[in-house]
């Protein structure tokens, strides 16, 4: 009797899971691939959910990663509306929500992250949403009507992108941020101030240092009450206060976790033949930083490719500085590296101009960069960051000198 082919089980069918499945074939995996995801839809990319989907320019399915035809062509078994409930690591066997047991030879954990919920009375009223899935986005979109009062709780990327989309639809929009600046976790003040200015210029009421006391309404939200005694009428509230890793499956199996499954540069967990990729994974070390968990499109793409390479026994490709983008109104903001308040900020061009860059220097080296409608500079900036070369602040600020020339200078 012929032995059955080896199987890779991918738990989670978001971007990282779906990309892992495709990358496995690309890397020459000949065995079975079973991809298990709890959403009813085919795997799709999430970036459009807070932007084009909310403004009605695109449907979530337009960003599909896998289709029925592609699954058939690539030999991927996709189980939708299903999830992995428990793992038996010694037996290499998973129990699914439906009760079925599925043996695996390699396991990739791509269970993603979930929106953190607001720990307040009223957070479960109708009209209060988080945004994570296509279903969430469609529910929010249905309520974005011109003139509607929309309140974003949290001035992070999700909150600001939804704010921009809602303002573009014609809603009355308020952003509430508890810190004294938006994007406090990811951006330095210089750039955060410009993001706030952009929103205010489009009529968004951005309130920093705002603390919510209560969400009020009978069975549907009608207003938010703030700690300073003020109140804001709301037809719709979207809560964007961060995400938590869906690492319960791994914790239950005894795999090392720390708000995320801890992995090395090859996407390996502490358990042989078990890997993790995407939002759920916490890199033990990535591009000079320890213990980072990245909720980004790029990380889902690259770590999925890494996990697939590890399954087939190939070493990981080297990673560049982490890259992230956000689109708000007419601005495309790209961030490379890890901006920190301790960095020296050097501006290239004026924030009053449609396009400019901010560079963050750490001891003469380029540690991070923000490109404001300046994506065309990204490749050169990434190279400047990866070469670990000395760069001078005046040279970076000199708009008369192409950045490309700095690459030619002796490192």
């Amino acid at each position: 009797m012929a032995s059955s082919p080896e199987r890779v089980l991918v738990a989670g069918a978001g971007q990282a899971g779906a990309r892992t499945a495709l990358a496995l074939r690309h890397e020459g995996w000949q065995g079975e691939i079973v991809l298990v995801g709890d959403e009813p839809d085919y795997p799709y990319e999430r970036p459009p959910l807070s932007k084009e989907v909310l403004t009605g320019k695109a449907a979530p399915a337009e960003a599909a990663i896998l289709t029925e035809a592609l699954c058939a062509q690539e030999g991927i078994t996709l189980l939708r509306g299903e999830s992995v409930e428990a793992l038996d690591l010694p037996a290499r066997r998973a129990r699914l929500a439906s009760g079925a047991h599925l043996p695996w030879d390699h396991l990739v954990l791509a269970t993603g992250s979930r929106a953190r919920e607001l720990p307040l009375a009223g957070a479960h009223l109708r009209g209060v949403h988080t945004l994570r899935t296509a279903a969430d986005a469609l529910a929010v979109r249905a309520q974005l009507r011109p003139g509607a009062g929309v309140v974003l709780v949290g001035g992070g990327f999700i909150g600001l992108e939804v704010a921009a989309s809602a303002a573009q639809v014609g809603c009355r929009v308020t952003v509430l941020e508890t810190l004294d600046q938006v994007l406090g976790r990811v951006l330095t003040r210089t750039i955060a101030i410009e993001v706030e200015r952009l929103h205010r210029a489009h009529g968004v009421d951005v309130r920093t240092g705002a603390r919510i006391e209560a969400i009020e309404g009978v069975d549907r939200v009608c207003r938010l009450r703030l700690a300073d005694g003020s109140a804001i009428d709301a037809d719709l509230v979207v809560v964007g206060i961060g995400a938590l890793a869906n690492d319960g499956l791994a914790i239950g199996a005894g795999i090392a976790c720390a708000d995320g499954v801890v992995v090395d540069a090859a996407a390996r967990t502490g358990v042989e033949r078990v890997y993790a990729a995407g939002d759920v994974a916490r890199h033990a070390s990535l591009w000079g930083a320890r213990g980072v968990r990245l909720e980004s499109w790029e990380n889902a793409e690259l770590q999925a490719a890494t996990a697939a390479r590890s399954v087939v026994g190939k070493p990981p490709q080297p990673r560049q500085a982490p890259w992230f983008w956000t689109d708000q109104f007419d601005v495309n903001l790209q961030i490379l590296g890890y901006p920190s308040p301790r960095h020296e900020v050097v501006l290239r061009g004026s924030p009053d101009a449609p396009s400019w860059c901010a560079f963050m220097l750490d001891g003469g080296r380029l540690a991070a960069a923000c490109l404001w409608n300046a994506g065309r500079e990204r490749r050169v900036v990434a190279q400047l960051m990866d070469g670990a070369r000395e760069v001078s602040a005046p040279a970076l600020a000199d708009t008369a000198r192409p950045l490309r020339e700095l690459l030619k200078a002796p490192a």
């Binding site: 990319e45 970036p47 084009e52 960003a63 499109w297 890259w323 983008w325 689109d327 495309n332 994506g375 065309r376 990204r378 490749r379």
Partner: protein, 108 residues
């Protein structure tokens, strides 16, 4: 399909990309190893001009979200789209770059 005169040949330098409107279409022109190529100028993923992107080794990268296309074939090499970029025949004649475009712009 109709051939349109785009720019004079010396305006399109080696290894560079140039965006322009031609026959009602946004078109990006490229010169690679002396040869000229033409694609639609708008990324198939989001509304961005490929001519503002990064050109290297015959690959154009979108300035917004890093979708990468083979300039010669329009094929997607990586990035957040699966839809190839429309390409158009292009040649140099009498010091002019000529591009063969579909008659109805909507068809592109």
């Amino acid at each position: 399909m109709t051939w349109h005169a785009a720019v004079s040949a010396d305006e399109l330098r080696e290894g560079e990309v140039l965006g322009l409107a031609l026959g009602g279409l946004p078109v990006a022109l490229y010169r690679l190893d002396g040869e000229v190529f033409a694609t639609h100028d708008i990324c198939t993923h989001a509304h961005a001009c490929m001519s503002e992107g990064y050109l290297e080794d015959g690959v154009i990268e979108c300035p917004l979200h890093q979708a990468r296309f083979d300039v010669r074939t329009g094929r997607v090499l990586s990035g957040p789209t699966r839809v190839p970029l429309a390409t158009y025949p292009a040649r140099t004649e009498g010091g002019q770059v000529l591009v063969d475009l579909p008659a109805a712009p909507a068809a592109a």
